[in-house]
Each structure stands twice: as C-alpha cells, then as structure tokens.
Symmetry: C2
Subunit: 326 residues, 2 copies
C-alpha cells in the first residue's frame, strides 16, 4: 500500500469534524475558525525512546501519543480543538497496524471532543508519532501559563501520582502484580498505556483563578522546577502530602525502591500541578470535586528560586534522568 | 547535552515572535490570536526517505522542511503565521548540528514572516523533522481548496518545473553539470536544497479568484490528478507548454531521460497549479507579473474525471513512484 492509499484509508476512518473545522483532512491544509485565541503544542513519541511495541498495544500507542499532547492543553486550561499527526511507519508495520494505531487516537479524540483534522504519513526506520494539538480559548489572557505564580500561592496537585511508572514496571514484569488485586493492577497498566489528560480539570482550575499551571509529564521533581523557574519563585513541596495511586507502594516495595521515586521521578502521570492564591483554594477544590477529582495542597510558593522537597531525604527524589542526546 | 538544555538553546536562537503570537516557545503551549480563519498543514521529512545528510547541508534540511510545509499554505492562499517543529535527533548529530539545522529553518522563517513558535525534541534513530504550519486568512471561504475547479477553467502554472529533480541528480553526480555555466548549476542545486514556497503568488492567485489550487510537491502528474479528483473534473494538460528551468534539458540529456520526466514526475518544485476562470486569467497573470513570477496556461478543465497529458508519449509522464510502505 502506498502513502496516498494509506492516507485515504486513514481519512475514511476519521469521525465527523468539530464545529470549528470547516475543512478536514485531504486538502493542502485543514481550515478552522478558531475561538478568539489558540494554544498550540507538539509532542513526539518515538519507538525505543518513549515506548515499545513489545509491551504496548498499537491502539494504546496512538491513544497515549494524543494524551501526552492534549495534556499540555490541559495545563493551559484550553478547550481541546484539533489534532494533526505526522506518522512515521516502519517496514514491519502493515496497513492493519496503522489503522489500529489510529483507532487508539480516535478513541481519545472522541472522548475529549478533539477533531483529527490532518497529518502526514511517511516511511521511517521506527514507529514515530509527532502530534500537534490546537486548543481554544476566548482570549489569550484566559490561558494559564507556567509563569504566573507568586510568593504566597498554594501549590496544588490533581489526582494521584506514581501509577504510570508502577504500571510500566508491571507491564515489563507481570509477576510484580502478584500482591495486588486484579482491579488495582489493571488500573496501573491503564494509567501507563491510556493516560487521561486532565482537560476538564485544567479548565476548571483556570476558571477558579489558577495563577500558574504545568502538567506532570516528566515527573513532579522536574516539572515543578520548570514552573518555579518560569515564575521566578521557590516551590517548597512536602512530599509526604503527595497522594500515591493504589498499588504503587506494593510495586515499589517489590522492587526495593522508595514509592515516592515513582511519584517524583517517574513522569507520565499527566496530573496537573497548579499555583493558586490561598483565598481561591476553596473554589478550586470545589470545582475539582464536582469533576470527581481530588485536589491536594502539597506545598507553597515562597520568594527565591528553585525547588525544595521535604518529607523524605531529598537525594531520593530525582527528576527523571533524560538520556544524553549526543 | 540533555533534551531540556537543547530546547533552551534552541529557544534562545529564535527571532522575535510575530504580532499574532502572544506566548512563544517555552511554556506548555504557544498562544496566538488567529486572524479569523486558519489553515493548518503538517509535513514530515525523514532521513533516508526524503533527504540524505551526504548531499544536503544541515541548514538546507531545516530550510527545506519548512519550505515543504509552507508550500501547502501557499496552495491555500494563506498568510504564513506560525511553525511548530518536532525534531528527532539521531546519536551522531551534536548540539552544533541541531543549531545549524535550526538556522536553516530560521532563515526561511525570517524570509517569509513565519514565527517558529514551539516544538519538541526527542532522540530518534535517524534525523527527522515534522513541521506543522499555521496560516491565516480573514474567513474560511477566502482559502483556495483543491476542489473548486469547474469545467471551462484554465489550468495555470507558476514558474518553471524540473529544477528540483535535476538539482538532486546534480548533487549526486557533480560531473553532470560540466555542460552548464556555474550560475545555472548553482540555481538547480539551490532549487533542490532551498526551495522557495510560492506564498506571495498563492495569495495573489487567491485574490485574483483562483477556483482551485495545489502545490507541486509530488510532481505535476500526481498532484494534477489529486486536484482533478477533488474537483470532479478532468484536467487536459499540454506538456509542451510546461516551462522548464534552465539546465534541466542538459541534465536530462546527459542522463538519457526525457526532460519532461523531471517536470512531471520529479516533484519538489513547489510551484503552484491553479484553475482559473478564463475571464480572470488576465488579472491573475498581471498579479503574478507584479511579483516577478511567470504564469503559464498549460491546459484546461473539462467535464469528466482524471488527467490527460498530451504533447509527449503519455507513458513517459509518470507520477513519482512512491515506494511501498509495507
């Protein structure tokens, strides 16, 4: 099957476009009518770097690639709009495989109201997906950046951490799950394979007046440091306040590592870390509760710079180590 | 150098953002205020599939990747706005190499008024670039799609064809240029390495009422067929009318191939093919002349479907053969 035929097959499978999309995939460009202001982000997943086809089904690879991209829109408090996918297809991935991958993308697109509006297909040595997502908002100032935190703000966290890292270990060694009930183990695997971007929660936190926000794609340690640097404040976090997903402690114990290492350094949990003025904490908490999501105060912003982690020996809490590029 | 450090270095090098960009690279997403309607396109270049570092300097690889993406905006008649780059960095490309690649992107971005507003960097087995470009227009109906051609329209072509394919052969075998003067040979190489997207010409043709338009990225034969299929008309093209870039005939003769094969099947010339009602031809031609670009009538639209090429043995005019993906 050639590139054009695959593109045509992919297009046939796309759902109906959203109301902002006036022309979807198949022309030189997709045409949209944006909503006042847009937030645009790109996220790439490369086989052997970010995932392995040995442990991740193709549909979950597509799902997760879109989830990682949409998580950046969640961190802006943006309404998800369109996604564009550059797909690199290796020699051993056939048409059915490409369509399975797309089915995963479509599943999350449908769940989140995102339109798959276009893309490109190319041969490549390994499977790779570069996904550009466009989110909408009424005006630029309504998006929440990383740079608006002020000394005195509380630092809050949605949901629970550590599940994605524990799930990854579990996928690599199913025996690690022997001490867990099936539902708990399934939830850890799902967290790794099909993470849900916190889109509704991000918009709720934006509406509640969050001053700064970031999604935890690289791990609490690293991402909190990025927010601190962008805002010019110091973040003091009490790691004993960080909620862990059920089963994380058991997997960590079986591996002989500190559970918080999964939470702080594991990454890919795609929870949101936000800075909120104390007098808006109540509103933010109620808004998240209405969405069925916990919101936990895990620290505060103070004058200064950098990140201070207390509650455990700091040396145990490392940002995920990125391998050297060269 | 880790991913974050490279991203920071790349950001330092970016020029000032355009007026629509309210927040550039470095946060979770770039923030823009679009102009009524947007046209968005994605184009990916993969080493070993679309280019070789043996014949193409790194700066030209970056330049051409952005050119290929912007050419799709040209074909919509859109004003270039922002570009987002997902960069896959192989083990043998160091920081200086990445910055050289970016310098090529920046050069064309500056020439065209495009803002490099964000992106992602990842390790990858080979060098790859997936570029998403966003163009702007006052309203969706002002963009020119592939599907608006009607029977009776003239088929017009900007500029000259064949140069990119001849330039590629010349890069692979410099001796092929022995019969050419230096300026002609340089222009062929430049056409291959640093193609200029016809952005001004695309907007001029849109303003002159072009009914349908496509850029010639895959070759006249293939792309004219796409336009015919999208519009539901038959395109009758007289290949003897197609202007060839200087030096194409000599390179083709040295290789023992038909010069029109480079024009019809070579691809990557990034000229525009448009369908224009006969009573608007004069306006279109004058608008292009004012931009210093030729506009040549090479055929017409008739009722029916598909593509008819006359003026040469049709068997010689093949769309570029895409290798099988699987």
């Amino acid at each position: 099957m050639g590139e054009f035929e695959l593109l045509a097959r992919l297009r046939e499978r796309l759902g109906a476009p959203g109301p902002r999309v006036r022309l979807g995939a198949g022309d030189d460009a997709a045409v949209t009518v944006p909503g006042g202001a847009t937030a645009t982000s790109v996220d790439a997943l490369v086989e052997g770097v970010h995932f392995s086809r040995e442990t991740a089904p193709l549909a979950s690879i597509g799902f997760k690639a879109l989830a990682a991209a949409l998580s950046d829109l969640a961190a802006m408090g943006a309404e998800p709009g369109e996604a564009y996918t550059a797909l690199g297809v290796p020699p051993d991935l056939d048409e059915d495989g490409c369509l399975e991958l797309l089915a995963g993308l479509e599943q999350l697109a449908a769940e989140t109201g995102t339109t798959l509006a276009g893309g490109d297909v190319s041969r490549a040595p390994v499977l790779s997906l570069a996904i550009t997502v466009v989110g909408h908002g009424p005006e630029p100032g309504r998006f929440v950046t990383r740079s608006g935190a002020r000394a005195g703000d509380a630092v809050v966290l949605t949901g629970e951490l550590g599940g994605a890292a524990a799930g990854l270990r579990l996928l690599g060694d199913p025996a690690l799950g022997d001490a867990l009930d099936r539902g708990t183990a399934d939830a850890l695997r799902e967290r790794q394979l099909r993470p849900r971007p916190r889109l509704d929660e991000g918009r709720a936190l934006a509406a509640a007046g969050a001053a700064a926000m970031i999604d935890l794609s690289d791990g609490l340690g690293g991402d909190a440091g990025h927010l601190a640097a962008a805002s010019g404040v110091r973040l003091e976090l009490d790691m004993t306040e960080v909620p862990l997903q059920a089963g994380v402690a058991e997997i960590a114990e079986a591996l002989g590592v500190e559970p918080l290492e999964f939470a702080a350094g594991g990454g890919e949990d795609f929870e949101l870390l936000a800075c909120v003025a104390p007098d808006q904490l109540g509103e933010a908490g109620r808004a998240l509760e209405a969405l069925g999501c916990t919101l936990t105060v895990i620290g505060r912003c103070v004058a200064g710079e950098g990140l201070a982690l207390s509650g455990r020996d700091r040396r145990e809490i490392r940002p995920r180590g990125f391998d050297q590029l060269a």
